[in-house]
Symmetry: C2
Subunit: 439 residues, 2 copies
């Protein structure tokens, strides 16, 4: 065996991902050393509870509750604790003590990313976070490096496995949301408290990270428009299927041609998470189960898609270990860390300024002139109709269902128009309003 | 504008990709400077013929026929000439004069990769080559870096757009190979001399590059088994379709559990390019037209797929510019280049040792006992039958067509067995023998 330089690796957290990282670091030690050009010595694992049960067996003497002592002794610190504190404090300590850091902590990066990247820049350290968006799928390096010479126009990502699993089963089985969620919880695909997933919080964190990378702009989490999937019901799924669509929770990051306050053309971006109609022929429509995929449209490269497992302990561990090898190679090569590129500094617009196509489903009185009234309200509201389909529903044949596909319209116009429709007297019920993405 | 350090960029070659790179470097100069943290100054473009017509308009004063003078003055050299010489000599000169180099030259890397990487190691330079495999698709960084902590088990790649375009049209239109090829040539999807594409030479070069990265082993081009698609006819496409398959030209890079000369378990790899049957439900089956996709199976990460445009001037330019930005960031950060990881040094086995499933189509006399004879020959040859389908063909009803699906069998056994079937007296014709990939 080659005699490599020895690098001290500290691990913070030994949950589903952490325990797999520790196990693989030990199991493949020789191979990883050959790849990194350095021996990666796992010197300790900081945990809150020394006696907690772990997913894999690890030597007892590696565990410690003294994270701070462990951190200052390390060349590379892997943070897999999750949450904001003490993860943030530990990462900053690691950076300031001269270590490179690897993290999968999307919540932390989406909220304190600039602070952490700035701290790393100050001391020339590098922050690696391939596992923080879309799990095992290599998407950070492609956006950060491979597409650094291109201009990303749009990203549409299925970045939350739990919601994709639920929507996919609702689509395939014609089941209701609550029913599939309960089953997903029983099977371990959804947490006991599913809020972070089904309300889109997890996807919004990942969207902030992806948009920051793609647009070279620091995107704060609160600039991400977020809607979850709890309002999606069987009726909406069935209607989508009949119209050749599937409903997916998408993280959409988009470059917009807008104008500034003086009316001068100036680019801006939109970052939003919501359930949307996707054409069944679109590559994203064929992403099933708990898988993730990120569809990227770039000016020169055209359409790209990255597909794989979005979560899972061992899958995510793969991304973390790739980062650890990169960190080790950088230690050997020397040089300072390469900071995040945020100099484009594009403004993030409110959801009201975004334009997409929509599908509006209404229940109306089945009387002469109703459709004309509806069409008039849309036209007055600057919402242009692309398709209309009217079907009679109900046994009394007094109610009709109208499905309107719009051309691209501005969200604010659309939203105001839907309010007017609801108050118009001819509309009994606004059944659903869904955006159509992917063209 | 920020006052950045100025880096001198030299471009060798101004063909379809080179002219786009030059154009984008100039067009997006400010933006690229912000991303790289350095001004990327295109100082010259070396060409053979100063008066040749270019795809895009570029200032005449940038062009020179004196590549060597240009190279020694540059911080970053982009080689987009193609071919082995003088590209090899120029790249080595660039490396030895202290430049980082960016190349899309798959032929050169597949044949002289080790020499070039070794030269870069000697002086601490870095070689970037994202555009050398699968065009615009970011696949080099994911394999080199993101999956560096994982163990890749298998890669199945559609890495040649021309052959995928031809096979896709044959599949969709029920057309013959020659007919679609002629059309592809007329449309510019295939070259006047299509040998490099249709005989699999281009795919074999990319397979050598992908396998080298995935298995941390320097894979020489002549270790890649190569078959083209010229023998694929309408009958084979139709039969594949009827059986739920599609025929794709695949680059397969596989890790094998073999034994060494003493019988000790020792890993090896297989790298091969051939047309294969792919299940229509497999993600690779939905890669249409001239698109490329690389499906990766890794021990921890599971299944990943990378999809996008495999060729095209501006698409490939995206990958090249990503490399240029990376090279610039490295120049600013300092440190030496990170060498290629080839220390696994796994042996590449001959095609005869590879095991896959097969589909064998035979025409036999429609007589009692024939199927028993065929089954006996297969069994004697250690080829286990999974499925058999016999249909009577021809007006006289004297000939039957037998389609045999095998379990995994060793290529050498299969090939010997097919020879025995052909010579058996009961087989009129071996219609086709195709591997089945993707399980």
């Amino acid at each position: 065996m080659t005699d490599y330089r020895r690098l001290r690796v500290a691990l913070l957290g030994a949950g589903a991902v952490g325990s797999q990282v520790a196990s693989l670091l030990r199991q493949h030690a020789d191979e990883l050393a050959d790849r990194a050009g350095a021996t990666l010595e796992l010197v300790g694992i900081a945990v809150r509870d020394l006696d907690a049960k772990r997913d894999v067996e690890l030597p007892h003497e590696l565990f410690t509750t003294d994270a701070e002592t462990l951190i200052v002794s390390a060349d590379i610190v892997i943070e897999l604790m999750g949450g904001i504190e003490p993860a943030r404090t530990y990462l900053l300590q690691a950076i300031n003590s001269g270590a490179d850091v690897v993290t999968a902590n999307k919540a932390l990066l989406a909220t304190h990313g600039p602070e952490i990247f700035e701290a790393a820049d100050q001391v020339g350290a590098q922050v690696y976070y391939e596992a923080a968006a879309a799990g095992a799928i290599p998407i950070i390096r492609p956006l950060r490096d491979s597409l650094a010479g291109d201009r990303v126009q749009r990203i549409m990502g299925i970045v939350n496995g739990t919601t994709n699993y639920i929507l996919d089963r609702m689509d395939k089985e014609g089941a209701e949301f609550a029913e599939v969620l309960a089953d997903a919880q029983a099977l371990g695909y959804a947490e006991a408290d599913p809020t972070a997933d089904v309300e889109g919080y997890d996807a919004a964190q990942k969207a902030a990270i992806l948009a920051s990378l793609a647009f070279h702009t620091s995107v704060p989490l609160d600039a991400v428009h977020r809607e979850g999937i709890t309002a999606i019901d069987k009726g909406m799924m069935d209607a989508a299927r009949n119209a050749g669509y599937v409903i997916k929770l998408l993280a959409v990051c988009e470059r917009l041609a807008t104008t500034d306050a003086e009316g001068t053309p100036a680019e801006s971006i939109s970052v939003r998470v919501y359930p949307a109609l996707v054409d069944r022929e679109h590559p994203l429509a064929s992403v099933h189960g708990a898988n993730n995929a990120v569809f990227v449209q770039a000016e020169a490269a055209g359409n790209l898609m990255f597909y794989g497992a979005g979560a899972g302990g061992v899958q995510t561990a793969s991304a973390v270990l790739g980062d650890v090898v990169s960190a080790a190679r950088r230690h050997i090569a020397g040089g300072v860390g390469v900071g995040e590129s945020t100099r484009a500094n594009l403004p993030v617009v409110e959801i009201g300024q975004v334009t997409t196509r929509y599908q509006i489903t209404l229940e109306v009185d089945d009387e002469p002139g109703v459709l004309a009234t509806v069409a008039g309200i849309l036209s007055d509201g600057r919402v242009s109709i692309a398709t209309v389909e009217q079907t009679v529903v109900g046994e009394d044949a007094e109610t009709a269902r109208v499905v309107i596909g719009t051309h691209k319209a501005q969200e604010q116009d659309l939203s105001d128009t839907v309010d007017k429709l609801a108050a118009s007297g001819v509309v009994d019920r606004v059944v659903s309003v869904l955006r159509v993405e992917g063209d």
